[in-house]
């Protein structure tokens, strides 16, 4: 207890000379902290419409509303979050889960209104939305509301270190570049159960990948099954839409991973490797699927080509009870998959597994049977109720340069390297082309060089018209090729193959001015005076392939319609302009990959089934 004195109250006099504690509002404004959690901001350009914010919101304050002005594309839904400030609790979970980091909270917090409907708001970015966000001089605190806000007033913003998702993927165990270029051993080793589980559990289940996948696989579902350690369930889900899991798990072009919203600020979920994991862990596909074949319908379908499209259509039609016969000119199934991708990417076992699985449903295979040679196309049309052709693109394009006849063709080379006895390669090989096939060729070549000239100097060079940025091969392939020691010469066009005493001695190249014209069409121009000579004893051309439809008789060829891009035209059922003839795969679509072929096959199988059930 203090000593009481009559003078004690006089101590209070000193407060007269102190600055008052009261804020002289509104003249003396107190700005909210830089991290303040106020109303939302959303950058519509970065927002993918994935809907994770709506999923995590504990109050269901966020609804995804469709915005017709936005063009939906792979990896971007035309939906944007709408906030209800009669629900929102400003917790910021939506900010921490937002994969593109488009959703942020501003420091604005004023909205006072007599109408509750005004509390529902679709946030936009302050940079774009000039009607709502005003610069400091036009902004007035007395008018402040959801539609009268201050610009440059960002508050709580996303931080990758504190995000609720894991931005880094589980690294795929790989054989080192030094080791792998010695042989055709498969490059990736595959996930262990633990790795697969933790990779699968990164998925946020937004479903953007499913829309991007040509075959619309239920990706979220099977990834979820893997995260729950149920790879059988995962495989069952995959097999519903894709009969080639082991193949697609290795060489799929993974449109899904490009669309994955996690890829925007981190790495996408390794969907392809997870599919590979599911296919590799399960012992027997057939038991997993537990599918009973329906009763035979008695209808028969001929399939030309045992590639991805042909195999898939056979599978889907068998599951509907139709009889299927597959005609294939090669001695085994797989088509382009069997001869194209090198073994270090797609081992023979994987192809065999998938082909055997499809054969196990009772699909008839006629190998070594080329349509047009061993059996006539018209005959097939007569004997079968429907014909599906997915013959692929087997004819390599050439660059039309001097002495082009001395160059090897990519597909012949790959096929030989894969199926037949390994071809002899030169010590200094030049590969022309910058696509994925060119990468396959170059890397195959490198391996053969390592095997044929052990311990000696050998080199593989790649020449392509495109610059590093424009190169059509996937970034991953380029990186791996670089690691293995392929020497790239981007932005050089081939001029002619140089001969010395009848032997190939090198490639003369000219510098590229531009590859595409103003409309974005392929139309290269060169600096004719700037040339370079690459020395080499072998040249392989890998600049693209086309199809060969010479097996189709002329009278039908006339009525067969093509698209502007010289592809076979099909309707929504997958049927060509010739009734009863369906098509799919590389001869139809522009993607020219396995999963699109499967998508075509699925569409065509539905179409064939529809046609067969009608008659």
């Amino acid at each position: 207890m203090g000593k009481a004195s009559i003078l004690s109250p006089l101590k209070a006099i000193r407060f007269l000379f102190q600055k008052p504690l009261t804020l002289r509002y509104p003249f003396e404004k107190k700005e909210p902290a830089p991290r303040y959690r106020g109303f939302h901001l959303n950058d519509w350009d970065r927002c993918t419409g994935c809907g994770n914010c709506a999923d995590i919101c504990p109050n269901e304050a966020i609804t995804m509303i469709e915005v017709p002005a936005i063009e939906p594309e792979p990896g971007n839904k035309n939906e944007r979050p709408q906030l209800d400030y009669g629900r929102c609790c400003f917790c910021g979970l939506c900010v921490d889960i937002c994969p593109p980091g488009s959703l942020r909270l501003s420091r604005d917090y004023f909205h006072i209104h007599f109408d509750t409907d005004t509390f529902v708001f679709v946030p936009k970015d302050e940079k774009k939305d000039e009607a709502t966000f005003l610069p400091a001089e036009e902004y007035s605190i007395l008018k402040a509301s959801l539609t009268h806000r201050k610009r440059d007033y960002e508050g709580f913003s996303p931080d990758l270190d504190f995000a609720l998702f894991e931005p880094q993927r589980v690294p795929m165990p790989q054989v080192s570049a030094q080791e792998r270029k010695q042989s055709f051993v498969e490059m990736v080793r595959g996930y262990s159960a633990e790795q697969a589980r933790s990779e699968a559990s990164r998925c946020l289940e937004c479903g953007l990948c499913e829309e991007a996948c040509p075959a619309n696989l239920r990706i979220s579902d099977y990834v979820k099954a893997i995260s729950e350690d149920d790879s059988e369930e995962a495989l069952r889900i995959i097999l519903e839409d894709n009969p080639l899991p082991a193949i697609c798990g290795r060489i799929c072009m993974k449109h899904c991973e490009d669309a994955c919203s996690l890829g925007l600020r981190g790495e996408p979920v390794a969907i392809r490797w997870l599919k590979r994991y599911a296919a590799d862990t399960v012992e027997s596909y057939r038991e997993t699927l537990r599918a009973e074949l329906p009763a035979e319908t008695g209808k028969k379908v001929a399939v030309i080509g045992a590639g991805a499209g042909g195999l898939a259509v056979a599978y889907f039609l068998r599951l509907k009870g139709h009889g299927v016969t597959v005609f294939e000119s090669q001695p085994a199934g797989g088509g382009m998959l069997r001869m194209g991708p090198p073994r270090y990417r797609l081992p023979d076992d994987a192809v065999k597994d998938d082909v055997d699985y499809i054969a196990s449903f009772g699909v008839q295979f006629r190998f070594n049977t080329a349509v047009g040679k061993n059996v006539q196309f018209d005959e097939l049309r007569e004997r079968y109720d429907a014909v599906f052709m997915a013959v692929g693109t087997h004819r390599s394009y050439t660059a039309r340069i001097e002495n082009e006849d001395r160059a090897l063709m990519a597909l012949d080379f790959l096929n030989a390297a894969r199926v037949g006895p390994a071809p002899d390669v030169g010590r200094h090989v030049i590969v022309i082309g910058g696509g994925n096939v060119a990468m396959d060729v170059a890397r195959t070549c490198l391996r053969l060089q390592q095997m044929q000239y052990p311990g000696q100097e050998s080199v593989t060079r790649a020449v392509c018209l495109e610059s590093w940025e424009e190169m059509p091969a996937s970034q991953e392939e380029i990186e791996e090729a670089k690691e293995e020691g392929i020497q790239f010469n981007p932005a050089w066009g081939p001029k002619g193959i140089l001969l010395e005493q009848g032997e190939v001695s090198g490639l003369e190249c000219k510098a590229v001015k531009s590859v595409f014209d103003e409309q974005g069409r392929f139309s290269p121009t060169f600096y004719e005076d700037r040339t370079m000579v690459l020395e080499g004893d072998m040249v392989i051309e890998a600049i693209g392939q086309g199809y060969d439809l010479s097996f189709i008789p002329d009278h039908l060829m006339e009525s067969l319609a093509f698209t502007e891009r010289r592809k076979v035209k099909v309707n929504e059922d997958g049927m060509t302009s010739v009734p009863g003839v369906f098509a799919g795969g590389d001869i139809v679509n522009l993607n020219m990959d396995a999963v699109t072929a499967i998508a075509d096959a699925k569409k065509a199988a539905e179409g064939i089934h529809k046609m067969l059930s009608e008659h």
Binding site: L21, P32, Y36, E166, C203
Partner: protein
């Protein structure tokens, strides 16, 4: 309804029923007490909670583990951080999540700042109740300064949603340490003024002495914890007896008093406030550098293995416990908060008000440090 004349003339031994709250100036929080009075003596008091019942524990069973985070802090609006802490601790225990060392320090600092703000709020409520307007105004001002710190650290003034499983949600901003020190120094500089106007004030002594007195035996039997128990002489503080966060890393004292009445309880609060300020300084000095967050699993796929846990921490009001049951799902199976105000505001309050005068009802209630939303949940 009692008429004024009846109440005035009730010295004759007539019993009346008086409704104290929820709309009453002497009531802090949405709470109500039904008093049976004779004259101005309370014969019997019946606490009547439930005005703030939201069914939290039921709602949490419907939300995933991470969605519950914005939820838990709303149980106690005065001191939300200890609610977050206890939930984070329980989840970490069940899910086996490690917390980085620096995060433990930040958590402790956060909790102590929250204790400071909560005690200042209590001081406001109590001095305001007794008519000491000046210290009440100061206390509320100083609490606001602490809230400014929280705003800068967490982005929220009142609800921070900052202590997460696996650590804390963001690291200290640049220069934040200095601002904590500055703010706490400026609050500390006012302690002599608080003492002169309030704590050493004869009026406060006369008004609070002997009010709501509890013996230690009574306090123990009724489940008292926190300042209410410490005012009866027991050095019982969860931070000491079962240390969590970084409380075992620094030296500090548990203030106690012996009398067990309102006066000693408020003094315990004052001493704790000062001790907390000192503790923040010590924690800031000892705080290591490093990570502050171990990433939790993907919230959409997060399942916690079956099990149950009881964790507790010391909120500014006493023992705050959480009994958490998981059945292996993505949501809690059962959540039950053991809030300190629950025994204080229901059992002890009823007991302490027996025989008290009407003028002391609010006095007793606030000195017991009752926060209504904690009771109702």
């Amino acid at each position: 309804m009692a008429q004024i004349s009846e109440i005035a003339g009730s010295g004759s031994g007539r019993e009346l029923e008086l409704y104290f709250g929820p709309q009453h100036l002497g009531m802090v929080g949405n709470f109500s007490i039904t008093l049976k009075v004779e004259g101005d003596r309370v014969l019997k008091a019946t606490a009547n909670p439930g005005y703030l019942h939201r069914g939290f524990e039921k709602l949490m069973e419907y939300r995933t583990w991470i969605q519950n985070f914005p939820m838990v802090c709303r149980i106690n609006v005065v001191e939300p951080d200890s609610m977050e802490m206890v939930y984070a601790m329980a989840v970490e225990k069940l899910a086996g999540i490690e917390v980085p060392e620096r995060a433990q320090y930040i958590r402790s600092i956060c909790l102590e700042l929250a204790r400071v703000s909560s005690h200042l709020f209590g001081l406001w409520a109590y001095s305001n109740m007794l008519g000491f307007d000046t210290p009440a105004q100061w206390a509320m001002y100083h609490r606001d300064l602490v809230l400014d710190l929280f705003e800068e650290l967490t982005g929220g003034r009142v609800y921070h949603i900052y202590l997460w499983p696996g650590g804390v949600r963001r690291d200290f901003p640049k220069g934040f340490r200095d601002r904590i020190v500055h703010t706490l120094h400026s609050i500390g500089g006012w302690v002599p003024d608080y003492d002169a106007t309030f704590f050493n004030n004869r009026l406060f002594y006369e008004r609070a002495r002997g009010v709501g007195q509890l013996s230690q035996e009574q306090a123990k039997a009724l489940g008292a914890t926190g300042p209410v128990l410490r005012a009866t002489g027991m050095k019982f503080d969860i931070r000491k007896v079962e240390p969590y966060a970084a409380y075992d890393k620094v030296d500090w004292e548990v203030p106690t008093r012996q009398e067990g009445d309102a006066y000693s309880r408020i003094w315990v609060v004052r001493d704790e406030l000062i001790e907390s300020v000192h503790m923040v300084f010590k924690l800031l000095d000892a705080m290591p550098d490093g990570e502050v967050y171990n990433r939790i699993p993907n919230p959409f796929k997060w399942r916690i293995p079956p099990g149950e846990a009881y964790v507790r921490c010391e909120s500014s009001r006493g023992e705050l416990g959480l009994y958490l049951v998981s059945n292996g799902g993505d949501k809690p199976y059962r959540v039950h908060f053991r809030t300190p105000s629950y025994p204080h505001g229901l059992t002890i309050l009823e007991k302490a008000l027996e025989g008290a005068s009407i003028a002391d009802v609010g006095n007793t209630m606030i000195s017991l440090y009752v926060v209504a939303p904690e009771i109702d949940r």
